[in-house]
Symmetry: C2
Subunit: 223 residues, 2 copies
């Protein structure tokens, strides 16, 4: 019997915010031969233009993207986080990490449902090492626990992975540069101005990472 081997690409879902971390994950996955399905979310964030940037990135990478509108969650997040509520002062001194409670779990839950719908067995998200200290839903122990819940809750062997979890953000930028990530298309800023504000926590982290990585930062900052 002559067998014809048909190589089937492994499918994965990448939770794509449009920022450098998740975009690097998408490029990394494509490079490793995955068939990548991007998933991005509206959740009432002030920086709604993330969605536009995630879409541009997907086009640039040649992968499909699904935009899920969860902006009704704004009702839950208003009064809780400055990322969704302009009446809450946005700190930028890292005195109080800016958290959208359990946001990543909401995204990962939807990603699990999407994975089952397209027959993917892995979900990748952009949590990286520099975030571990500040954001509980970026920690390895969180996503490992979530993976267990996902397996039990779906009766599958689905995997949740954060391939950048051992890297600092500067190392992510270096990796992204090697993979050809079009950083000028990525968006980090918590605000919705034409340019990155340059002053919010996320812009500060972005700037610092490019500087530490010694990679030219193509970002236009307002100041």
């Amino acid at each position: 019997m002559v067998g014809i081997a048909i190589a089937r690409k492994k499918k994965c879902i990448v939770v794509l915010s449009g920022g450098p971390d998740s975009v690097t994950v998408a490029y990394w996955a494509k490079k490793r031969g995955y068939e990548v399905y991007a998933l991005t979310f509206r959740y009432g964030q002030i920086a709604d233009k993330e969605v536009k940037h995630a879409t541009m990135i997907s086009q640039s990478l040649g992968i499909p993207i699904k935009v899920i509108d969860l902006s009704s969650l704004k009702d839950v997040f208003v009064g809780v986080t400055s990322l969704c509520d302009r009446n809450i002062k946005m700190t930028s001194d890292f005195s109080q990490p800016i958290i959208v409670p359990f946001r990543n779990a909401i995204f990962l839950s939807a990603a699990v449902a999407y994975a089952i719908s397209v027959g993917a067995i892995e979900i990748l998200y952009g949590a990286q090492g520099s975030d571990e200290a500040f954001y509980p839903d970026c920690r390895t122990k969180f996503y490992k626990a979530f993976e267990k819940a996902a397996r039990l809750g779906t009766d599958t062997n689905i995997s949740i992975k954060a391939p950048l979890s051992k890297l600092t953000k500067a190392e992510v930028i270096k990796l992204g540069a090697k993979l050809g990530v079009p950083f000028h298309l990525t968006w980090s800023c918590y605000l919705d101005m034409d340019k990155h504000c340059g002053k919010c926590e996320s812009c500060i982290n972005r700037r610092k990472a490019f500087r530490e990585a010694a990679i030219p930062d193509p970002t236009e900052y307002a100041e």
Copy 2:
């Protein structure tokens, strides 16, 4: 010093679908002295009238309800489940349990975020014993694993509980009757007709439970 003790009610979130199980949980929690916050969801379900019924129940119980519109998830669930896709034949012979993949995890994730926003430390949902065999996201081992992920992902001691997990659906109906649940206001049917269809899996379960509990079933079935 004379202290004045002010008894503060413990707050909880009840994920309320408007069906007899989750409604019984809400009545149970109110009876036990919780300050109950109901949370209900649109997720592209054909039986969208669940939301109307959940709202009527909340009014009847005198608790606030928040309706979160996740109907954009329909994009994920279409092609996957007959509860959201009229082109998929709805089985009613229990040959193939009708599953919306990881739906309860999506709801519980949003409930965790809501709990943090209102300062609740418990989330209750209506998983009951008769569902255990069919729906992985109704199983005790699932919600215990999810609770662990929720604690790690929020750096809190939040609890996820399914107070009915040891009861059969018939026992839930008995308990609900004792608690004064207005069963005529609850909705189980997977369809969106004026009356319960009487023939879908959910109607069959409802009918059977009332019969087994020997509680008069106030439901109007189409047939």
